[in-house]
């Protein structure tokens, strides 16, 4: 029997000549199907059984930034009426403890965050600078209220600093006179977002290094 009608005389048809090849291919398919009844396991990093459940994998930046932002301890420090809104933020109604921040430290050595809450006078500014200098790196500053931000209603006064950023570097400015605790909490959450973006390893991407603001500012010059 000829299918195509052009099989030369004295030769077997093509289907007969590839019979064994087709048999082998079919066997391969069947073998794979038989051995694949169950789905494969998700490819994971191999973890020894004895520490399984105690381990997770992440980047150093994510871990360090997460730990820093989750327990920002403010230094106990209030200058004027804004201090009462800051105190209210730490009480049960607004509950700064949700951010792990309720531990207002009596010593700047133990604090990460300085909330400048109130009017900064020139006579007070050396004390503020000293407290800031005593805080250990990494450290952040929130300027709370218009007085600390720019002098506010006392702008141009003979005794008031026109913004605490004339004395110490500020990370987040919270406007208001005074800002409600909601506004302060929003400022704190913005600071959390900022902390999450830090790159902590020196050979990481070309972004400002945490705690080395001056180095970050001069790095383009070093490249050139």
């Amino acid at each position: 029997m000829t299918i195509h009608g052009n099989t030369p005389e004295g030769t077997s048809p093509l289907s007969a000549r590839t019979w064994q090849l087709d048999q082998d291919e079919g066997q391969t398919v069947q073998d794979l199907k038989d051995s694949s009844a169950e789905p494969l396991a998700e490819p994971l990093i191999e973890v020894p059984d004895d520490i399984k459940g105690n381990l997770m994998v992440t980047s150093v930046d994510a871990l360090v930034n997460w730990s820093r932002k989750s327990a920002l301890w403010p230094v106990s420090f209030g200058l004027a009426c804004c201090a009462f809104e800051m105190i209210a933020s730490s009480m049960g109604r607004f509950d700064i403890a949700r951010f792990g921040m309720e531990a207002f430290r009596a010593s700047p050595r133990q604090a990460d965050l300085m909330i400048v809450a109130g009017t900064v006078t020139w006579k007070m500014s050396p004390a503020i600078k000293r407290i800031y200098d005593q805080m250990a790196d990494p450290k952040w500053v929130i300027s709370m209220g218009v007085c600390a931000t720019s002098g506010g209603p006392y702008y141009g006064s003979y005794s008031v600093v026109p913004g605490v950023d004339h004395i110490i570097p500020v990370d987040v400015y919270v406007p208001g006179c005074p800002p409600r605790p909601d506004a302060l909490l929003f400022g704190i959450m913005e600071l959390h977002e900022k902390i999450k973006k830090y790159r902590n390893l020196p050979n990481g991407p070309n972004l400002p290094l945490l705690g080395n603001r001056s180095k970050a500012a001069t790095s383009p010059a070093e490249d050139a």
Partner: protein, 147 residues
Amino acid sequence: MGLVHLAGPDLARQLEAAVADSVEEWNDDAVWVKTPSIAGVAEFLQADPVLDFQFLNSISAVDYIGYFEVVYHLTSFRQRHTATIKSKIPGRGESIVPSVYRVWRGADFQEREVWDLMGIRFDGHPNMKRIMLWEGFQGHPLRKDFL
């Protein structure tokens, strides 16, 4: 029950009797005394058993451009009355007023504040220096000619 406010000719007559040539003028609100006799008048107001002003509410100063005025608010809790004593200081130079620190200890910081912000010195004060502003600050900011 309110406090009776002593002023006018009655109080002026008592002060004049206690310290000769001390009263300058008076009205229904206050009695003006001459600057050099402030300390003597204060001593009398505090020691006299009828007036009995044991408490100095405040010392303040006013700049009327032509002259300064210091104002003493006094209260007697036992006699339940109050009084206001004032004194005019002519001129705009560095004015000097006798201190009442020996009579009322509460005058300590108040006189320093008047010196700091208004530039009126108090003679006899044990610690006459600035209280609000820092040493080296130029001028006295509550004066009308400051800036």
